[in-house]
């Protein structure tokens, strides 16, 4: 209840201030700030520190030219892989789409025929699209895939100029992997 709402006789004679002048201010350590010389010493210490920093090299990483090293397991944009004989790995099982927590993967499967063999399995992915605006790069699709067809590569600079361009089609996803990632995957098997 604020003082002004109380009857006059209930108000304290001198309203207490919220905080005293030096209340809550930590006490100065012994031997510091007790004289002008000590104050000037503190100021020069500050100036010395900043001058030291001035003559030290900057720690900035100049981003577009320099980049931080990424982990080998970094999860960037997706790739669809092929076998060495050129056949697509993807068998259109849609397990990746089922595993995806945000539902950004669309797979429409079709039957392989003798004349038109796309993948070694029974079926192949006729349509394979990933909506990169929705993707959270969790990597569950890669874990779910029984044939290691979809992998997440190292690229993270994915900006583009229209929303449509973020729907990565099968064509785009089938681009060859960067050689170092390819070599690592080859070594794993």
């Amino acid at each position: 209840m604020p003082d002004k709402d109380k009857p006059p006789e209930a108000r304290p004679e001198h309203p207490t201030p919220l905080r005293g002048r030096d209340e809550g201010v930590p006490a100065k350590p012994e031997g510091q700030g007790t004289s002008i010389a000590a104050d000037i010493g503190a100021l020069t210490k500050g100036l010395r520190t900043t001058l030291g920093e001035f003559f030290s090299p900057p720690v900035t990483l100049e981003y577009p030219e320099e980049k931080t090293p990424r982990s080998e397991r970094y999860r960037g944009r997706h790739y669809l892989r092929r076998y060495d004989n050129g056949l697509e790995r993807c068998i259109g099982c849609e397990l990746c789409a089922a595993a995806c927590p945000v539902g950004c993967i669309l797979v429409i499967a079709a039957e392989n025929t003798e004349e038109n063999r796309i993948s070694p399995g029974e079926r192949y992915a006729k349509t394979y699209e990933i909506n990169m605006l929705r993707c959270i790069f969790c990597g569950y699709c890669e874990e779910a895939c029984p044939v290691q067809a979809i992998v997440l590569g190292p690229e993270y600079e994915l900006s583009d100029t229209s929303r449509e361009k973020f729907i990565y089609t099968k064509e785009k996803l089938l681009e060859p992997l960067p050689p170092d990632v390819q070599a690592r995957l080859d070594a794993k098997k």
Binding site: L47, F54, P58, V59
Partner: protein, 337 residues
């Protein structure tokens, strides 16, 4: 050179040329002071500072200028429009006027000045005092509480520190016996075999320190940048200014900074005299060192609280400046009889 000054037409031609040159040189110097400040502040914080536009980021100011020039010329609602527009103009005019009386030694026997006024330093103070109008009027005309608070703070601050600033220089005038800036720079001593100019800081070290602190406060630079105070007053008197009007305030601030640096060099460090260094380079070197000092202070000290600022101005600097005048007077009388 002196012939051309005695010829009435030649005199005006020289002045017109000098004024044009001055505008160009000071504007360029201002642009590179801003660049220098941003890079130096960056280095103090272990950043590289602007380095994208042009080599070493030297064209950064051109890019910033173009960007600001193309901004909408915005005047807030319910403001005093005449004052709102006039205030930044006053700031720039006052900042440039001071340069009318500042002399620069160009070469060993060639000096530059626009007006060789026999009360030069008083003129500098008179026009730099106009700066307070620019800020108070700007703050008042903006119709914004932060602007008004910034303007009020500025009025109190500039008036408080103007006195110590003026008094800090009085001992120098007493020793030299002239207010003409050229006379102060060329003040010559006859010390045994040495005959020549000396840095006057030898005689007035206390005056120099008071000048230095007061000048930082006069130019509204950190740690005395209370009128602007972007963290607490979201820019103070600058809050409602954008585009070219903002540029004018910004320009004025940096021109003032160069002015007080040049004055410090002229009054305390022998102006353009420095051993065998050619005068113009000696002068430039001294000004740049002072500019660096200002940037260094900004990169080091946090802003003073308002009551601390007033206490420092009225209880420390002003009595010290007065004492300095009295002690210097006593010593002068004792020495010269």
């Amino acid at each position: 050179m002196s012939d051309i000054y005695s010829n009435p037409i030649g005199h005006w031609v020289v002045i017109a040329v000098a004024m044009t040159l001055l505008l160009f040189v000071v504007l360029t110097a201002t642009a590179y002071t801003v660049w220098f400040e941003r890079v130096a502040l960056g280095r103090i914080q272990r950043r590289p500072g602007p380095n994208r536009v042009g080599p070493f980021g030297l064209m950064q100011l051109a890019a910033d200028g173009v960007k600001l020039a193309f901004k909408e010329s915005f005047v807030p609602e319910k403001t005093d429009k005449v004052l709102y527009v006039a205030a930044p103009a006053i700031a720039v005019a006052a900042a440039f006027l001071a340069w009318a009386v500042i002399p620069i030694g160009l070469w060993y026997n060639v000096q530059y000045w626009i007006a060789d006024v026999n009360v030069g330093i008083l003129v500098v103070f008179a026009v730099s005092a106009l700066n307070v109008y620019a800020i108070v009027i700007g703050g008042y005309a903006s119709n914004n509480k932060y602007s008004l608070l910034g303007g009020l703070r500025s009025a109190a601050q500039l008036i408080s520190y103007e006195m110590s600033l003026g008094l800090a220089l009085v001992p120098t005038f007493m020793i030299v016996g002239s207010l003409r800036l050229r006379d102060i720079v060329e003040y010559t001593v006859h010390w045994g075999p040495y005959v020549g100019p000396i840095p006057l800081i030898i005689f007035t070290p206390v005056g120099f320190i008071i000048y230095l602190i007061s000048a930082v406060a006069e130019t509204n630079r950190a740690p005395f940048d209370l009128p602007e105070a972007e963290q607490e007053l979201i820019g103070g008197f600058l809050t409602e200014y954008s585009g070219l009007k903002f540029v004018m305030y910004y320009l004025a601030e940096y021109v003032n900074m160069i002015t007080v640096s040049a004055l410090a060099a002229l009054l305390f460090f022998g102006g353009w005299f420095l051993w065998v260094v050619p005068p113009v380079f000696a002068f430039l070197l001294k000004v740049v060192l002072f500019l660096f000092l200002y940037i260094w202070l900004r990169g080091t000290f946090p802003r003073l609280r308002y009551d601390m600022l007033m206490r420092l101005g009225w209880k420390v600097l002003l009595p010290l400046a007065m004492l300095n005048v009295i002690v210097t007077a006593i010593i002068l009388v004792a020495v010269e009889g």
